[in-house]
Symmetry: C2
Subunit: 395 residues, 2 copies
């Protein structure tokens, strides 16, 4: 049977990213392509111990249907995590989601009618761009520099697109650039958005993974009228396979959100919520996160050193203070989709910049992930990339 | 900030069902309202043992990001479950979802543009109706009798609505009626749909929970051109809190579905998928399901006996051969929303029929759940309902 799909369903099942990840999945390929945490740091033993406790303490309860917005005890623990991030929230402001990807999807679904404008950083997170496009959004990109989204450019953009539905931003160690928005820009962004009456969707999956620089308050901290919807996740601080994230928003928004969440999957895995809640009671999360940030700092610095050594002298790169990504720009307008092919032949992978832009693609750019490969792989991989770049640049 | 929500987001956060469930959540209330399995039959010890094995055998792997369509081993095991249901499927036809509610939501999202017609049984599953409405569907109900959806009426309906996007049906122990579609009707439904070029979404969460009558092949068994999208779930045969369901469809559909699933939550909880896969290896599922069907048969029969004893003589009720629900009709046009209020005063709850109709509400109808209450509660609850019905009918 030939299905008549709805508008917004991609007509092609050829997904550029899927193809890149497939090429990178070859075990001979050293991949800086994905956005995966370091699995050797997953707290497997502690998670197993927490699970045993949960089955013993709660038994049937964790296997039954549960509340749409999540396990109340976990929501309370999330309010404590938020305090640590300088955000005061009550349990009623917290919604547990099936990974923060689900929060991006449901917030988009709640806000976007086909043709609506959504403002994004340019470049931005691929899977968010895919979601916004699937609801028929018209994406408008705001340029960035090393200090994050340019708020003067944003002020112009909201004047032009007064009915934009929301501004999507990743202030900490942005995906794909690894850049962090300064405190001044954060305040200014909240001010501009409020004045324009446009909500902000603040995506903060990486904020806790800071290994350098000064911890900055999220946009939500500066939000006085409920215009900021804050998303975060246990994926980068605990384990992504468990698909556990959360959303923080005003009570009135949460009431609508709850109905959408019910439609989407009734509620998030109850067992997993209990396990993570028990884990947070038993394990020193800060100590665990310190292990992650120490490892990532080491890997990022190693990668940056090797970039300086093996890449052309005039290359630009971001200097992340946390997270998982470095953004590289090779001058001279190199087509990094072509570079990708050369790299794959040399058994090394990354994600070309073209995947991340809502507006014009900036040539010569690409994203490197430093969290998922060990020292040896980073050394060998960057060397291989250097060789491939030299080939392409010489041509 | 005042949010400008998209079309389809309910403008009121007053959800009739939510209110009913809230009223029924009072611990003094005997509730036949929800659709919850019997928690005392959850295999807690076996699930704990399976989880321990998973952590020991697979460690980090289960905590990492994983494939969008699910854990390949589990998908293979699902093809075996499908064989047992007389459906030949390959791994590539199976998608694991975060509860079959997610499959309903994503299939609807893939198919429905605002204004599109969706054909449903009248009455039908509440949370599916909510989903279809949220995408702006125009719902057209097809009447049922004790043999399921009336296929002659369906034939008329598809003649009138030639561009209907799909036909949504629950052939086994339907929610809310508990009725089962006959084999003849199944064949006829597939034939009519195929001739009209309209896909069928076959929702089968309860099919395995059959305690009486003859096991019937699903519509998907009769599907020769991929027009049937089949949904099922581990919620009723194992545990709903783990949010694990699946979808069976043609490869071409799955390719599009995969992109939507990626947008929605990247993939379903990996740990939970491994646990259920291990459980299926270690535990005799048929033996476990037999325990459930024995208990449900007993409870259903007890409830039907008591209905005959305590409800008015001329009451109609369905005679389910499985599942979790009995559908009751009191003659005389009693308003069961009013009856609900009287029942709550008497500390007993159900769901009034009004919640389930896409078209005209059939007065005097309501749904009773028999799976979640024990013998004593069923005895006391039906007695209380009988008293409340007598009050309302006498008035």
């Amino acid at each position: 049977m030939k299905f008549r799909y709805a508008n917004g369903v991609p007509t092609s099942t050829e997904n550029a990213t899927a193809n890149i990840l497939k090429a990178a999945a070859d075990p001979n390929v050293i991949s800086f392509g994905g956005g995966l945490p370091a699995p050797e740091l997953f707290p497997v033993a502690e998670m197993k111990a927490a699970t045993d406790k949960v089955f013993d303490k709660y038994g049937r309860l964790v296997l039954q249907y549960a509340q749409t917005l999540g396990y109340p005890k976990l929501r309370e623990q999330i309010t404590d995590l938020m305090k640590d991030r300088h955000v005061d929230a009550e349990v009623e402001n917290i919604g547990v989601v099936t990974g923060s990807q689900q929060a991006i999807d449901l917030v988009a679904r709640m806000m976007i009618n086909p043709g609506d404008v959504v403002i994004v950083e340019d470049p931005s997170y691929l899977a968010a761009i895919d979601v916004f496009n699937s609801y028929g959004a018209k994406l408008v990109g705001v340029p960035m520099d090393e200090d994050g989204m340019k708020t003067d450019a944003l002020a112009e953009t909201v004047k032009k697109y007064t009915k934009a539905k929301f501004i999507y931003t990743i202030p900490n160690f942005q995906n794909p650039t690894g850049r962090t928005m300064t405190e001044e820009r954060r305040k200014e962004l909240v001010r501009v958005a409020k004045e324009a009456g446009i909500p902000i969707v603040e995506d903060d999956p990486y904020g806790a993974i800071r290994y350098a620089g000064k911890k900055l308050p999220p946009l939500k901290h500066f939000d006085k009228d409920g215009g900021v919807i804050y998303l975060s996740s246990f994926s980068k601080i605990l384990a992504p396979g468990m698909r556990l994230g959360w959303l923080v928003a005003d009570k009135s928004f949460m009431d609508h959100f709850s109905l959408m969440k019910q439609n989407a999957d009734l509620h998030t895995d109850n067992l997993t919520q209990y396990i993570v809640s028990q884990f947070l009671l038993d394990v020193d999360l800060k100590k665990h996160v310190k292990k992650i940030t120490d490892a990532y700092e080491h890997r990022a610095n190693l990668m940056l050193e090797l970039i300086d050594k093996y890449f052309p002298k005039n290359v630009h790169h971001s200097n992340p203070e946390g997270g998982m990504f470095i953004w590289v720009e090779i001058p001279g307008g190199v087509d990094t989709d072509e570079l990708f092919k050369t790299c794959i032949k040399n058994n090394v992978a990354f994600v070309p910049g073209s995947a991340f832009f809502a507006g014009d693609i900036k040539p010569g750019t690409f994203r490197l992930n430093f969290s998922n490969m060990n020292d040896e792989q980073i050394k060998e991989g960057i060397k291989r990339m250097g060789k491939a770049i030299a080939e392409v640049v010489d041509n």
